[in-house]
Each structure stands twice: as structure tokens, then as C-alpha cells.
Symmetry: C2
Subunit: 214 residues, 2 copies
């Protein structure tokens, strides 16, 4: 039985998992969740992931994995080659810290449900955009010296890691929210390099079945 990835084309958390699956060469069926229509909060999707967030990876037999970092760590354990974590424990900690800055300190502040809540609290669209840009800026300020120190092409070293799985989607989001990447040349270079990797390119939002025209 094949895997099914519950995904939304532009959302960064499922984009991370698409990169991981593509890097590992793991095939799957794509189940689109329309976040703008609120499908993630409807009973049909809650039956898959009660939390109502994407992604969810159904691996068959009633087993559904949630939380993008947990899914990527599971992928690394279930499909060790090619590795997306370095061998050395301190290097692994550095890659996980880079992933954590994005997955914990940037993205959760900017996802759909948070924008909706800010709107309910009376913050206008310009205020929500400034909020989104602020957390991306703080996160990239933290990441830039780490990428500058560790990159040898990719975000860490010369092969794709968990850090690229998180950074590539976050830069896509930064572009979407009109953040000028000029202050972060190491991030720009690493993501430019990563974008040319066939697996990472295949995971791009515009290559998904639910992508909308620009």
C-alpha cells in the first residue's frame, strides 16, 4: 500500500516533507487540502489529523504521521539513504538547530490560523504583513551566520539536509510576503544552490497538483 501525503501547495510545512520524500526517493499519492476554503478544519480532514494542520503522512494500516519535523526524522530512520542529517552528533545538533529556528521560531507565527486570529483581534492586512515580515527577519538574522559558517553549497555542508528541507520553503514564503533577501547573502546562495537539485525542484509549490496560476 502506498503513502498518501496530505498537503497544500503553498504551505511551508508540507513543502518541507515533500522535499524530504523526494530526497529519499519515496513516492506517494498527493491529497490536496484547500486551506483557503478551510478544508483543514472540516470533519473529513480532522479524521486524518485531528489537529487540523498540514502535513499528515498516511503510511497505510491506519498509521498517520503528523508534525513536519517528526515526519522528517521518521523518514531519516526508515529510509537512511541518502541521509538528511550529518554523521557527527554536534553537526546533527547544528542542523536541527537551524531547522528549529524556522520550524519553531518563524513559521508558527506566520501560518494561516495565526493570521486569521490577528485579523479577528482587529489587526489590518498591513499590520499582519508587517508581523509576518518581522518574524522572518528575526529568524533569518539568526540563521545567516550559521549558514555562512556551515554551508558548502547547501545550508549545511555539501549535501541536502533537514536544514534545506526547512529553509527552502521559508525563503519561498519570504518571497511571497515581499521580504527583501539582500541582508542574508549566505541564505540566498544556499537556497539558490538547493533550487537546482532535482528533488528539491520537484517539491516546489508550482509543481504540485493543487497549484493555482500566479
Amino acid at each position: 500500500m502506498g503513502f498518501v501525503l496530505h498537503s497544500a501547495w503553498r504551505a511551508t510545512a508540507p513543502y518541507r516533507v515533500r522535499i524530504g520524500l523526494a530526497l529519499k526517493g519515496v513516492t506517494y499519492d498527493y491529497a490536496a487540502v484547500d486551506l483557503l476554503k478551510g478544508e483543514q478544519r472540516e470533519p473529513a480532514y480532522r479524521a486524518v489529523n485531528p489537529q487540523g494542520l498540514t502535513p499528515a503522512l498516511d503510511i497505510g494500516g491506519g498509521r498517520v504521521l503528523t508534525q513536519s519535523l517528526a515526519i522528517l526524522e521518521w523518514l531519516e530512520e526508515a529510509y537512511p539513504e541518502p541521509a538528511i542529517l550529518p554523521v557527527d552528533a554536534l553537526d546533527r545538533a547544528a542542523v536541527r538547530a537551524m531547522a528549529g529556528i524556522i520550524a519553531c521560531d518563524v513559521h508558527p507565527l506566520n501560518n494561516t490560523r495565526v493570521g486569521r486570529q490577528l485579523n479577528k483581534m482587529g489587526i489590518d492586512q498591513a499590520g499582519i504583513l508587517a508581523w509576518t515580515q518581522l518574524w522572518i527577519t528575526e529568524g533569518f538574522d539568526a540563521l545567516e551566520p550559521m549558514v555562512a559558517r556551515h554551508s558548502r553549497g547547501f545550508a549545511f555542508g555539501d549535501t541536502p539536509t533537514l536544514a534545506d528541507c526547512c529553509l527552502v520553503p521559508q525563503v519561498y514564503s519570504a518571497n511571497r510576503y515581499q521580504v527583501d533577501l539582500a541582508p542574508w547573502p549566505a541564505i540566498r546562495a544556499a537556497v539558490g544552490h538547493a533550487a537546482r537539485h532535482p528533488a528539491i525542484a520537484a517539491a516546489h509549490p508550482h509543481n504540485q497538483p493543487d497549484a493555482k496560476p500566479a
Copy 2:
């Protein structure tokens, strides 16, 4: 050379790492960061962790680990016994998903810098409190069925895991922000059980050198 943990007594992310260190029996010196005074944003602390967030674990030789989940994963690799992740890969994914719900979807929305930003945007203290309570509620609603399914004393199984490292501090935070835990009996039971574990008790905010009287 000993380890130094840069910590703040009430902050939940360093609290997670204190639990992990105590469970592993790893000793360390405690370096207090006064978040109310803004010491985390001052040059002395930025020299330790440029991101200006706690925790940071200095393991000597100029090596400083950041991001609580990355530190806990490193601890698990460097000090495998007692394990804080199960053996089975799917069980590990479940524990990491539980940790991720707290570390990605609850806490980052509620930390000091976010409250400060909401205040700047004109949200009053009552509004910030309601915001904090909302994300705790959504997170605990997601966690409750997972704990109910997997707990055999602790949040997952019958020994402490990464899930307890995250859940115990988040329940402490929920109490601090006046969230009534009645809707989540499985979480309440697991945290009540965990609180009696000597290592977890030792990591409690009130047992830290920088704790303030109630």
C-alpha cells in the same frame, strides 16, 4: 570542563532542557538570564546565543548548542541511557509529534518577545492573555487524544520521554496563565505522574537559583 546551561527559571524552553539533563544525570552550571530585564537581548548574551533566546547549552571548547529540541536530540545521542525516545521508529515519530505540537504550535506563539510585539501593536494585557490561552487550548486539544492513547503513566509509555520534557513545562505555563486543565484529563494525569519523578521535580522553576518568590 563542565557544561553551562543558560536558562531562565520560568521560561518553558530551558525548562525542557533542564528535565532532559536531569533525566540523563548530566550535571551543569546554571547561568541565569533575566528575561524581564531583557538580558537575552544584550551583547553579553548575544555572544553566547546570537538569536537572543534561551536556552543555550555551552558544552565547552567554544561549542554552544541552541534550540531546545535540537539540544534534547543531541543529549539522546550523546547520553543514550536512560533513553528519552522509544526504540520503535513509529513510536519515536509519535513522541516527536507530541513534542512538536508544544514546541512548534503552542510555545512560540506565547513567548516573551511575542507578547512584547502584540503590546506594541496595541493589544492590551487582557487581549494578550486571551491569545496565550487560545494557543494552549488548541495545542492541548490536539495532544489530549494522543496522551490518552499512548500514556502508561508518562505522556508516552511508562518512562519519561521527550514528550514529557515538553509537556510538563507547558502545563506549568498553562497554570501560570490561568488555563483550567479540566478538559484534558489524560494530560493532567500524565503531568501529575511526571511531577513525582525526582529528575523532573529537580528541574521545576521553583527549584532554580534564579527563582523569584511567589
